[in-house]
């Protein structure tokens, strides 16, 4: 399918879009922590991908290539937001969304938000997009054990943050 899209087949590109859209949105969300911004970033990422797809040399690395484009777009958007949004407003936007489910889950979201991006993107894809180690590894073009290791560390970090904040004992 990547090969066909590379030859300019719009339908094939459409299939790639359908297949990777959700993953890319969650990936962008892990950087921006905002669903609307994430979807904007992904729209732009697919534009970039479409423009450069003909130059892609290794079609087997399409997922990893698209992932990197999406990350770049998300960071680009985050930087532009930082330049345009005052500090106070940014905090309310980029930290977790309002904890409608209750204060405990708000703490969990905050703990996720405090993770380093490298860990946060794995957590988001694993828990929100329900991807297993292998799927994430395939998408990112990295080894499965690396994903496992990152997820392990991320969980430990979340657990520690929660404990520090008294979660969930009360």
């Amino acid at each position: 399918m990547v090969q066909a899209a590379r030859r300019g087949d719009a339908e094939a590109f459409g299939s790639l879009y359908q297949r990777h859209y959700a993953t890319m949105v969650w990936l962008a969300y892990s950087i921006l922590l905002d669903r609307n911004l994430a979807e904007d970033a992904v729209q732009q990422a697919f534009v970039k991908a479409c423009e450069k797809l003909a130059d892609l040399k290794r079609v087997d690395r399409f997922s990893a290539w698209l992932t990197q484009i999406c990350r770049n777009e998300a960071y680009q958007l985050a930087r532009s937001r930082r330049r345009s949004v005052p500090q106070q407003a940014r905090e309310s936007t980029c930290v977790a969304e309002p904890a409608a489910e209750g204060p405990d889950l708000g703490l969990v979201k905050e703990a996720v938000a405090q993770l380093a991006p490298m860990y946060r993107e794995i957590v988001v894809l694993h828990y929100y997009n329900r991807m297993d180690y292998r799927q994430i590894a395939q998408t990112f073009g990295i080894a499965g054990h690396t994903v496992r290791g990152r997820l392990f560390r991320a969980r430990r970090q979340i657990e520690r943050t929660l404990r520090k904040n008294g979660f969930p004992e009360r």
């Binding site: 359908q18 729209q43 489910e101 969990v108 969980r155 929660l162």
Partner: protein, 863 residues
């Protein structure tokens, strides 16, 4: 609310924080909004296609240029000049300055310390120091105990040093290598050593004094079975071996047999042709090169042969016994097939099998006379599984399914006595770090470790850190949990001073000592200590309580592991001085030396048994060539005064066993033990059935009392179409006969049965084999599929002498989905019938008596 203790509580709470609905792609909307992007893609794709169309024409032009030798040379010259100019430009100078002559340490392969963690770095530094000192013993120790990356580096060093004593250790690692064959560092080291040894080997000349060490046997100038050939195709002669592979029973050639030095290397392997012949070239020169032979339907075999540089060792005759198979399915507990699992028997010549999508595997080439095989199964998503099975009779297949059970990920934090996290501690999960299924993990900067897919049940959890006491704990891992957190707190060590002395009480300096075992876990600590001038050394990370076992070793001493209770002020390690067994092999009649013979060595059957020698000695034996018939045990480090059981074989002579043979101090003028081999005697017999009909293909095995449990050591002879067999070359103590044939119950007897008063050969009558069938039910009367029913006969019913010498005969089958099983080829008489779990654990057993040619019903749980 109290925080739930379940391991997945965190998973659940994170999953609950999903912000909003899943994203839904709408390509049509995107396409409307970004039509220009798709347009750009189409245009670029078109341009690419056009530019690629030009490429074939350019390639064709290039080919035309390269066809002409002159233009080819011109292109090469232009390229060379171009590269030179580029290099000069980039380096800023026209020629590179002459490099300083590297020192020995500098010439060692470069390390990359920034990428290495501290322990690995320590090991590498240790390896480098040992390499600089050319300390082969030290490197071998590190090869055994170091991390895997260290092992690879050590192998590299050993390859550069080129000491032949490292070969056997490296061969075992080379055989376990699972990466690309070309990248096998252990094999590269072996090749390096063999090449170096070959270079050091002088031109074969008759030496005045025979070389009596097994590593360097003296060499006759031109051996009858080697020939120097010049290949017309190659500029240098071939190095290798040629010969023939035969069916041992029928002496018919075996076509299509694999004969090879490395199982995966086509350059050092060959297939036999229709006449069973093979020519194996490209072999490294070696005094003892292992060659594997694998043929469908036959027992895989490994032989040892001598390969001389630029010579083809001709006439290598290999006889194969008929073999059996094991096959089955690898499934998960729900019965779903597990694809991609690696299944292998721990036997050096059998290739591992990889399960396909249906989980099926099959391994050929098993020996029917081996008592029990171990079947090891590994898969990245499951804990490794091991079970034992009894092979079937020749030509038969044993069904053995494997169920892989999900494991537990064990993780936790390692802290010091002050609750501070400890980085760089090694944590492991088995009773020996050297075990095939051991999983280890090193703690990260925050002291965390993780062991994935650990087996449920008892977990032996150990941790080692150079500055803290060794730690061993045992915990039970319950089924049904995916993760288990086990934190470990290491204690302050109680440094233990030790002293090495010999049997006379004199201190022994320079002895290497490693902690062989602590509280039942062996090989956990990689540190090695050396005794000083007064024999002292200190173990800095000794715990204050428990038991420790130390292993002393080194040149000139023969150390055995010694156990000590901790908490003492000091411990004394007593070592014995190393010696050799010196022998001389002569013909009994004339007293003339026998120039070529094979020596086997094993623990004595009388008195204290000593081990620690290489397996080669009691497996294949060591072959010597000496015009004076001399040999010794070389660098085996056998303790002076120890006794061994030694057998010498030579073509045309009966084997001779002497027990005990004593180890003597190393000497230039030793008192040699003489082995006087009698001329070969031939004893014939005939194997018939109950009606007196000859049984073609019966196997007659002859063994000694000490070999009862080691069927691979038995001497075996085949019966021809008339049922006739001839025994020769066996030793006096091989007094027991074990006769088997497909469809018949085995016969155990004495070799004296073959003596007759007249000239007619003795008759051995085999009874028809028995059979069994039955059903296995649980307490509620439901069938129990997947269990193993095993029939074992380990003693003779009537004869008291044979009762103690009867070899083990086992046959087993697995129950089907209805709990049924069937068994054939059973021995007759009283046997024990075992019911076992799929992993080989005994569940129940009962006695049963089997009659010749009859099938008996034996049920479990039907009452």
């Amino acid at each position: 609310m109290v925080r739930p203790e379940r391991a997945d509580w965190l998973d659940k709470v994170i999953a609950k924080t999903v912000p909003g609905e899943p994203p839904e792609p709408d390509f049509a909307a995107w396409r409307r909004a970004h039509a220009e992007a798709l347009e750009a893609l189409a245009q670029r794709a078109q341009r690419k296609t056009q530019s690629q169309a030009i490429a074939p024409a350019a390639i064709e032009l290039g080919r035309r240029i390269m066809k002409c030798p002159i233009s080819k040379l011109a292109v090469a010259a232009i390229l060379a000049v171009g590269i030179f100019v580029l290099v000069s430009h980039l380096t800023g100078r026209k020629t590179a300055p002459p490099e300083a002559e590297p020192t020995m340490a500098e010439s060692a392969p470069a390390l990359e310390p920034r990428e290495l963690d501290s322990v690995f770095q320590d090991e590498l530094a240790q390896a480098k120091a040992l390499y600089t000192q050319r300390d082969v013993a030290g490197l071998l120790s590190l090869l055994e105990t170091g991390q895997y990356d260290t092992k690879m580096k050590v192998a590299e060093y050993l390859g550069e040093i080129g000491d032949g004593s490292a070969l056997s250790a490296l061969q075992s690692f080379a055989a376990q290598w699972q990466g690309a064959p070309d990248a096998n560092p252990f094999q590269k080291a072996i090749d390096g050593i063999e090449e170096r040894l070959a270079q050091l080997q002088p031109t074969p000349l008759e030496s005045a004094e025979p070389n009596i060490t097994p590593a360097e046997p003296d060499t006759a100038p031109a051996e009858p079975n080697t020939v120097t050939i010049a290949s017309s195709a190659l500029s240098r002669p071939l190095t290798g071996a040629s010969g023939m592979v035969l069916d041992k029973l029928t002496q018919e050639p075996i076509a299509g047999a694999f004969v090879g030095y490395r199982l995966s290397d086509p350059n050092t392997s060959a297939e036999t042709d229709a006449s069973g012949r093979f020519v194996l070239t490209g072999l490294p020169p070696s005094e003892r090169l292992y060659i594997s032979i694998i043929a469908q339907g036959y027992v895989s075999k490994r032989i040892v042969t001598r390969i001389v540089r630029d010579q083809l060792t001709k006439g290598v005759l290999i006889e194969l016994d008929r073999g059996s198979r094991v096959e089955g399915r690898v499934t998960d507990p729900a019965g779903n097939p597990v694809a991609g699992a690696t299944v292998k028997t721990f036997y050096f010549t059998n290739r591992p099998a990889i399960t396909g999508p249906d989980g099926h595997f099959e391994i050929d080439g098993l020996s029917p006379v081996v008592d029990v095989y171990s079947l090891h199964t590994t898969h990245p998503d499951y804990p490794a599984a091991s079970l034992r099975f009894a092979p079937g009779a020749a030509g038969q297949s044993v069904q053995q399914d494997v169920v892989l059970t999900p494991g537990v990920d064990v993780y936790g934090q390692v802290t010091d006595p002050n609750d501070q996290p400890l980085a760089g501690a090694t944590v492991g999960n088995t009773a020996s770090k050297a075990m095939w299924n051991c999983i280890t993990s090193r703690t990260d900067a925050e002291g965390w470790y993780r062991l994935e897919n650990v087996d449920v049940g008892e977990l032996v959890l150990w941790a080692v850190h150079p500055r803290h006491a060794l730690h061993v704990q045992r915990v039970m891992l319950a089924q049904g949990r995916s993760e288990e957190q086990i934190d470990i707190q290491l204690q302050t060590p109680a440094p233990l001073p030790c002293r090495v002395i010999d049997e006379a009480g004199e201190p022994v300096p320079g002895v290497y000592v490693v902690v062989h075992e602590y509280n039942g876990v062996s090989n956990l600590d990689e540190a090695r200590y050396t005794s000083d001038a007064d024999g002292w050394f200190v173990i800095p990370n000794a715990p204050s309580e428990g038991t420790i076992r130390l292993n002393p070793y080194g040149a000139g001493i023969s150390g055995e592991t010694q156990r000590f209770e901790l908490g003492q002020d000091e411990c004394i390690v007593v070592v014995r001085r190393a010696g050799r067994i010196y022998g001389r092999v002569v013909a009994d009649a004339a007293g003339e030396p026998i120039p070529e013979f094979t020596v086997k060595l094993t623990a004595t059957a009388v008195g204290e048994r000593t081990y620690g020698y290489r397996a080669l000695w009691n497996r294949e034996g060591v072959t010597f060539q000496s015009r004076q018939g001399l040999f010794d045990t070389g660098e085996e480090d056998l303790p002076v005064g120890a006794a061994f059981y030694m057998t010498v074989f030579a073509q045309g002579y009966d084997a001779l066993t002497l027990d005990p043979v004593l180890v003597q101090p190393i000497s230039n003028d030793p008192n040699r033990t003489e082995f006087r081999l009698p001329a070969a005697t031939l004893t014939a017999g005939v194997v018939v059935d109950a009606q007196g009909n000859p049984i073609e293909g019966a196997t007659v095995a002859v063994y000694a009392k000490s070999e009862r449990w080691e069927p691979t050591h038995w001497r075996k002879f085949g019966a021809d179409a008339s049922g006739v067999f001839v025994i020769s070359g066996v030793s006096d103590d091989q007094q027991y006969l074990f006769v088997t044939a497909l469809g018949f119950a085995p016969h155990c007897g004495l070799r004296s049965e073959l003596k007759t008063t007249d000239s007619r050969p003795a008759r051995i009558v085999l009874e028809a084999a028995a059979g069994a069938f039955g059903i296995v039910l649980d307490e509620q009367g439901r069938p129990r599929p997947g269990l193993r029913v095993e029939v074992a006969k380990t003693r003779d019913d009537n004869d008291e002498l044979l009762d103690q010498r009867y070899p083990v005969v086992r046959r087993s089958a697995t129950t089907d989905e209805n709990g049924y099983y069937e068994l054939s080829e059973l021995p007759v008489g009283r046997c024990m019938v075992y019911l076992k779990s799929s992993s080989g654990e005994d569940l129940r057993s009962k006695w049963a008596t089997f009659a010749p040619g009859q099938t008996t019903e034996v049920n479990f749980g039907d009452n």
